[in-house]
């Protein structure tokens, strides 16, 4: 017992350490990838400050190079960056002149709300539809599978534009410039949730169908359990396992999708900041966002592990 506990603590410790490594590695890769981007950072900044696209002279760029240390050897820049990381300092945005923590901090909540809500809604949609349509006669079943195949193939941006035009512009049910208001969050959330729901639904349905064939399901029926009871009490729990596993991955995909939803709905969030930062070569901000996203990913996967273990106690032992 104690031996197992020790092993378990050890495992968690190893996981925590590797997580930190993963996070820092992700940020480092980003750091170097950006240094590899051709073109001059100072030049970009200068053009950004003037709205021009010209080549500035070395003399004109000197103050910027001096200020941000662009002329330092790469390794020095990297060490500065990593040292900063361990002091909780992600650096200062080249363009916004604010600490990156602040740049990201302000945008993190809307993005998390968006992705979190999208994941939740996707789950509700996927489970609801699966429960109602798996093996429920030809019509319902094909309705369910068609809906899933359709939504799983929908590009986010297209869903967004269509939702916007139909529900905000034409029907005026939701605001067009929703910002972070609750009502304004509905359409962006649906934009992300609908394709994801289709995807999760397909996975859940496959599993659901298979689990329905399992002997223990028949056993439950032989005890006098109703069809709905079997679905809810026995099958569902098994069937959501793959979807849980996928949710960790989905969160990563949602961050990408969020960029698009934020773009269409003019919603604040790290997606927008990210695109701008990559375009303006705001290296500290890009690396900072990667760091944060990697951290979220790691946390999300820990949560997924937890959720999995909660649903499937077989894993708790391992």
């Amino acid at each position: 017992m104690t031996r197992q506990r020790v092993a378990r603590v050890r495992r968690i410790a190893v996981k925590a350490v590797t997580s930190v490594v993963v996070i820092v590695a992700a940020a480092s890769v980003t750091f170097f990838a950006q240094l590899a981007v051709p073109g001059d950072r100072a030049n970009t900044l200068m053009n950004l400050q003037t709205g021009q696209d010209k080549k500035w002279s070395a003399e004109e760029l000197a103050p910027l190079n001096e200020r941000f240390g662009f002329d330092d050897p790469v390794i020095v820049q990297y060490l500065d960056y990593v040292t900063g990381l361990f002091h909780g300092d992600l650096g200062t945005s080249y363009t916004q002149k604010r600490p990156v923590t602040e740049v990201i901090g302000g945008q993190l909540l809307p993005s998390l709300t968006l992705t979190g809500a999208a994941l939740l809604v996707a789950w509700v949609l996927a489970l609801g539809i699966t429960l109602l349509t798996v093996n429920r006669g030809k019509l319902l079943t094909s309705l369910g599978t068609t809906w899933e195949a359709l939504t799983a193939s929908l590009p986010h941006y297209w869903v967004g534009v269509v939702l916007l035009v139909v529900f905000a512009v034409q029907l005026r049910v939701f605001p067009i410039i929703g910002g972070t208001s609750a009502l304004g969050t509905v359409l962006p959330v649906l934009t992300l949730a609908i394709p994801l729901a289709g995807f999760l639904g397909q996975v859940t349905r496959d599993e659901f169908e298979q689990v329905l064939q399992q002997p223990f399901v028949t056993t439950a029926r032989t005890r006098g359990m109703s069809d709905l009871g079997v679905r809810v009490k026995h099958v569902l729990r098994h069937a959501i396992l793959p979807a849980i596993t996928l949710s960790g991955w989905a969160l990563g995909a949602l961050v990408s999708g969020a960029v698009i939803a934020e773009n269409i709905f003019g919603r604040p969030g790290i997606g927008q900041v990210l695109v701008t930062a990559v375009n303006t070569r705001d290296l500290p901000t890009v690396s900072g966002i990667v760091l944060v996203v990697a951290a979220i990913y790691v946390v999300a996967n820990l949560l997924v592990d937890l959720a999995y273990a909660l649903v499937d106690p077989r894993l708790r032992a391992a």
């Binding site: 399992q214 002997p215 032989t222 005890r223 006098g224 359990m225 729990r237 098994h238 106690p313 077989r314």
Partner: protein
């Protein structure tokens, strides 16, 4: 063999007409998409009595059982003249009414015991589920009852077990929990579909005792099995099914000891045991004596010296799985290794094959180093050692045809074929040797029957012309009659080619039938070692004795 007739032979009507009939089934027919799998069978079940339905795989036993609880399956067409349970018509029952009957009037133990409990729920909850569904007591009462039920089916530490989940229980415990759940509401009718198939003999004996106790209390039991010897312990009445028909039906003693139908006789003859040693199991004429080839007691072909294998588990704890195992296998001899599940049989076999490295000890091939060689030095010797696995299908590359599988093995052998035509000819010859034909060359193993697959596996093992074949449970997945054919084939080949077998099985009957000498393993150690006669007639070790008493028998023949 006679053509199948709709009317079974035997005297079912003679069986105890006195007891009231609980269940009456007349002319039951079930078909799936136009194929009839149950063709007009009739039987009755009486309180305090056990009706056994036996028959080979696919004969329609499980379909019949499921039909009795209204769960035949999707796409099934069921018809009957009558299905009555205690006077109530089951044929026109609504789904809602069925739910009232299942669990309360009819308890059902599913065939696949190991996966018939929801892995994600506590055993206690699973056992108590029928109670809950039929609104028995409150939560606390049900929990208490579940523990009580577990105790009643002989589950040790029932309080602890109730809190565990099925995957934390051994197969025997799971099977007992399943039975506990089926009898929770003390239904008058209990249907048990192959309740002992996946179990070790000792556990099997316990489960059968459990059912017997239930019968004593007045429950009517329908026991389904493909194993006649299992049925012998419990059944009052036996119905033999074949291809959806009941071919013979009568009191247990009579069906088992005085079978009327040829098929029943064939089934009985195919059961390997002490009595069948040295005889053929399959074929029309039983007890045909074999000519035995002499065992060459010179230098052992394969010799294991003090083999030990330690596995390190994911929890970093070492487990000794094989512990100081030594044996010698002589030319033309069959050495049987028997033992319960997990006793280290397969591990020993894999070490002998030099696929797995032993932690300590050595294996010699014809007195020369074998396990100690480097992979490259061993490779040329591999042709001398063949292998046949329990599950032939998974040992074939699913993309390969039968021909390719065997030809590939030929190429690795002592005399690799020099041309395509030669390869083909020899492949066909090998197939014919194991009872297949050249027509099977192009087929995929996926489309062969279990017995045919095992024949292909044997052909593959023979192809390189080995002197030893390691057989790891080669017949455990097969029906008795098929098993009989394969065992006959193996012994024939030994007579013909003088090959030695390291023969592993958990089935004492099979081991007794084939082996010259026997090793009994328990927890990785060899607890008994001797000739077949010594081990079976004068067992020294208490464990061996326990095994022998647990073996179900047909009774005195």
């Amino acid at each position: 063999m006679t053509t199948v007739d709709d009317r079974p032979v035997g005297r079912a009507d003679q069986v105890s007409g006195t007891a009231t009939q609980l269940l009456r089934v007349e002319n039951l027919r079930v078909s799936f998409g136009g194929t009839e799998v149950v063709s007009g069978i009739s039987f009755t079940a009486r309180p305090g009595q056990c009706l056994a339905i036996v028959g080979e795989s696919g004969s329609g036993k499980s379909v019949t059982a499921r039909t009795l609880v209204g769960l035949t399956g999707p796409g099934a067409r069921v018809s009957a003249d009558r299905i009555d349970l205690a006077g109530a018509d089951l044929l026109h029952t609504t789904e809602r009414a069925w739910r009232g009957l299942r669990g309360r009037q009819i308890g059902f133990v599913l065939q696949d015991a190991l996966v018939s409990l929801d892995q994600l729920r506590r055993v206690g909850d699973e056992v108590a589920e029928p109670l809950k569904l039929h609104r028995w007591g409150n939560r606390a009462e049900r929990a208490a009852k579940a523990v009580e039920l577990l105790a009643s089916v002989g589950v040790p530490e029932p309080e602890v077990r109730a809190q565990q989940r099925p995957y934390e229980l051994s197969g025997g415990l799971r099977q007992r929990a399943l039975i506990a759940s089926a009898i929770a509401l003390d239904p008058p009718l209990l249907i048990a579909d192959e309740p002992t198939t996946a179990l070790d003999v000792t556990v099997q004996a316990q489960v059968l005792d459990l059912l017997a106790a239930s019968k004593e209390r007045g429950t009517s039991i329908i026991l389904i099995s493909h194993d006649l010897s299992v049925v012998a312990r419990l059944a009052d009445e036996v119905a033999v099914m074949r291809d959806g028909h009941i071919v013979e039906h009568g009191p247990a003693a009579q069906v088992l000891h005085d079978p009327q139908h040829e098929y029943t006789r064939m089934l009985l003859a195919a059961i390997p045991s002490e009595h069948t040693r040295g005889t053929r199991l399959s074929g029309t004429s039983t007890s045909e004596q074999r000519v035995r080839k002499q065992v060459d007691r010179g230098r052992p072909v394969l010799e294991a010296r003090h083999l030990t294998k330690v596995f390190r588990g994911p929890d970093k704890v070492d487990r000794t799985v094989v512990d100081d195992v030594s044996f010698e296998l002589f030319g033309g001899e069959t050495l049987g290794i028997v033992g319960e599940s997990g006793s280290g049989k397969t591990t020993t076999a894999r070490i002998a094959l030099a696929i797995l490295e032993a932690t300590a000890g050595e294996v010699l091939l014809r007195g020369e180093p074998w396990s100690a060689l480097s992979t490259d030095r061993r490779r040329p010797l591999r042709k001398q050692v063949g292998v046949v696995y329990q599950d032939p299908l998974s040992s074939f590359d699913p993309r390969w045809s039968v021909g390719r599988i065997v030809t590939d093995a030929l190429a690795t052998g002592r005399r690799p074929p020099s041309s395509k035509t030669e390869a083909r000819e020899r492949t066909v010859r090998l197939l014919e040797q194991v009872g297949l034909t050249g027509a099977h060359l192009a087929s995929s193993p996926l489309r062969l029957s279990g017995g045919q697959r095992q024949r292909v596996a044997i052909a593959r093992a023979l192809a390189p012309e080995p002197s030893v074949i390691v057989c790891d449970e080669p017949v455990s997945a097969l029906d008795v009659s098929i098993q009989a054919q394969v065992l006959d084939l193996l012994t024939d080949l030994q007579d013909e080619l003088g090959v030695s077998y390291l023969f592993i099985s958990h089935d004492l009957g099979v081991i007794h039938h084939v082996s010259d000498r026997i090793l009994v393993m328990k927890d990785g150690r060899v607890v008994e070692h001797g000739t077949a006669t010594e081990v079976f007639e004068r067992p020294q070790h208490p464990y061996t004795r326990q095994l022998l008493t647990a073996v179900p028998r047909l009774g005195s023949a």
